[in-house]
């Protein structure tokens, strides 16, 4: 309750990251460190369509975060969702991205990958696909692992979407951490198996292989050249 008496509800600071669709700003929410994800209007869209789309996407992202949380996956605490302003105010994580951790401390990174695997399995069991599961979208805070950026998540995902999540994780390892692909993937799948069971992992990986064997799979084409997409 003390926190609520402190400062103003929302103070917005400097820009942390500008993507194609959204901007992320440093912020304080009743004095607590926070970030604000904003979906600004796009001048190339009809104002009415733009308004509708930004509202839907803001709400969808918050719903996906909530669904993840319900499934037992750590995500930043959502402080405020304002569909009128198209903003989500959320907890600011003071941690390190898995992408950085792989290079800095591979032992801790392996443990984080195992926990990420378990999180992905819980997420998938709840019918949610993250849609952009790269090492840049995993934040490690102490010994806790958080999944961030649900901007491309889908709530009515199917098995292909789950396989794409795993594929994207593998691709992000291959493009940015080529020396750690095998051990990181092994840990990830170990964590996935602990939650979903061995049969589920086998089925999943069969589908992942199918997707990768398509050869000109879309994600593969673009990520192999530019690394990850939308790095916060």
């Amino acid at each position: 309750m003390e926190a609520r008496l402190c400062g103003r509800a929302l103070e917005i600071g400097g820009l942390l990251y500008r993507g194609a669709e959204a901007e992320v700003y440093e912020a304080r929410w009743f004095c607590m460190p926070a970030v604000v994800k904003v979906r600004p209007p796009k001048p190339y869209r009809h104002p009415r369509i733009d308004e509708l789309l930004r509202t839907r996407r803001t709400v969808a992202e918050a719903r996906a975060m909530y669904a993840a949380l319900r499934a037992g996956v750590s995500v930043p605490a959502v402080y405020l969702v304002d569909p009128l302003e198209k903003i989500i105010v959320m907890e600011r994580l003071e941690g390190i991205s898995l992408a950085h951790l792989v290079e800095a401390d591979s032992g801790r990174a392996l443990e984080a990958a195992r926990r990420l695997g378990s999180m992905a399995a819980r997420l998938h069991a709840a019918g949610v696909a993250h849609g952009d599961l790269t090492t840049s979208n995993v934040v490690v805070v102490g010994d806790e692992v958080f999944l961030v950026d649900f901007g491309l998540a889908s709530l009515d995902a199917d098995e292909d979407d789950y396989a794409v999540d795993v594929h994207l994780f593998m691709r992000s390892l291959e493009s940015t951490h080529p020396d750690h692909v095998e051990d990181m993937l092994k840990s990830f799948l170990e964590g996935y198996r602990q939650v979903a069971g061995g049969d589920a992992v086998e089925n999943l990986m069969r589908r992942v292989e199918e997707i990768r064997l398509m050869g000109r799979y879309r994600e593969e084409r673009r990520r192999s050249v530019w690394g990850q997409v939308e790095q916060p």
């Binding site: 993507g19 669709e21 001048p43 952009d132 000109r216 879309r218």
Partner: protein, 362 residues
């Protein structure tokens, strides 16, 4: 009907191509003939290593009286007009076939029967007049004619036409396609809707597509499904929903469907282009292909690029749609880089993807 264009109508490139293609040897004076027949257009153009670089562009477009493009009828049209278009392009360039150093042809992607006419003409010319034969990818030609006429050295490219909708950019020796339509192309979406709704043919009236024209009557857009998946767009659901709504509404409300369709379709394309620009960090945006002729789409791409602080550009109107000049231009570049094919091996490739083409001269 054959239409002939020369630099007096489409202008000269604003930049010296040596800036765009520093790896090539520009010291020789070369002339390359290019043949385009991937879809409804049979076109022939002439390109040179000397200004004004694109010497002429002649074409005849197959326009069905009703319905869409029938591949066999398009091919029959191409075969009928080929000699006349060829002669018009050479005459406008002030050249004879003997002056030509190489014959280039678009071998794909496109409609098989239509492609085969261009390939047959090109193989015949190359074999009979003993000219080297140069294979050209049609999509690559749209991109490069755009670079030549906008002077954008390394742009993010939005290529939109009747058969293609893609976001592409150059990296490591090839154009990489990292966003595209999952089903129908943007031009195909607009044309199919227009046809099914009874608005077309003709598809374009006084430079404006009939869907854009019908949208002028609307005050608010109808609410239609907007499908962007990652960096890809999907238009098939939009088409179905738009047609269903069109049939349900009375004539006074129908323009709202046109406006909604147009707005959603263009927004999807420009949104994935923006994503591409953000992710690749390319310093400019190039809009190219047949649908790049749309003044409304140009406006939208301009708004996106300006908001991101990027220069943008689009080729001259005549060179947006399919034409032989762009085939001649890439044919010239390929020829200088030593890319030729034996006439006996110059088979058409209906699904020749842009991202499978090595581009050694960039």
């Amino acid at each position: 009907m054959v239409s002939v264009a020369t630099p007096s109508s489409y202008g000269s490139p604003p930049v010296d191509p040596r800036v765009l293609y520093p790896r090539l040897d520009w010291s020789r004076e070369l002339y390359v003939l290019g043949i385009e027949s991937t879809a409804h257009t049979f076109g022939v153009g002439v390109a040179s290593t000397r200004p004004p670089y694109i010497l002429s562009s002649a074409r005849s477009v197959y326009r069905p009286e009703k319905g869409g493009i029938h591949p066999r009828e398009a091919a029959a049209h191409h075969a009928r007009v080929a000699p006349e278009v060829l002669r018009a392009a050479l005459d406008a360039a002030g050249l004879r076939i003997g002056d030509i150093d190489a014959v280039a042809v678009a071998l794909g992607p496109g409609l098989g029967p239509a492609l085969r006419v261009g390939a047959t003409v090109a193989r015949g010319l190359a074999a009979y007049f003993r000219k080297p034969l140069v294979p050209v990818n049609h999509a690559l030609a749209h991109v490069e004619i755009g670079r030549l006429y906008t002077g954008l050295v390394d742009p993010l490219v939005l290529y939109v036409s009747g058969g293609n909708t893609m976001v592409t950019a150059f990296a490591k020796g090839r154009y990489r396609v990292f966003g595209e339509t999952l089903d129908v192309a943007l031009g195909n979406l607009l044309d199919t809707f227009a046809r099914e709704a009874g608005l077309a043919p003709p598809y374009v009236v006084e430079g404006l597509h009939v869907v854009d024209r019908c949208a002028l009557e609307a005050d608010e857009p109808a609410d239609l499904p907007y499908t962007v998946k990652g960096m890809d767009v999907s238009y098939s659901g939009l088409l179905t929903a738009a047609l269903r709504l069109w049939r349900r509404l009375g004539p006074r409300e129908r323009p709202r469907v046109c406006l909604g369709l147009r707005e959603v379709a263009y927004s999807e394309a420009v949104e994935v282009a923006e994503r591409g620009a953000a992710h690749t960090g390319k310093p400019g945006v190039l809009l190219t292909g047949g649908v790049a002729a749309s003044p409304v789409l140009r406006e939208r791409v301009a708004a996106m690029a300006e908001a991101r602080g990027l220069p943008w550009g689009v080729p001259p109107l005549h060179l947006c749609g399919d034409n032989g000049a762009m085939i001649a231009w890439v044919g010239l570049l390929n020829y200088m880089a030593g890319i030729t094919v034996e006439p006996g091996e110059a088979v058409v490739k209906q699904r020749w993807r842009l991202d499978s083409v090595d581009v050694p001269w960039r």
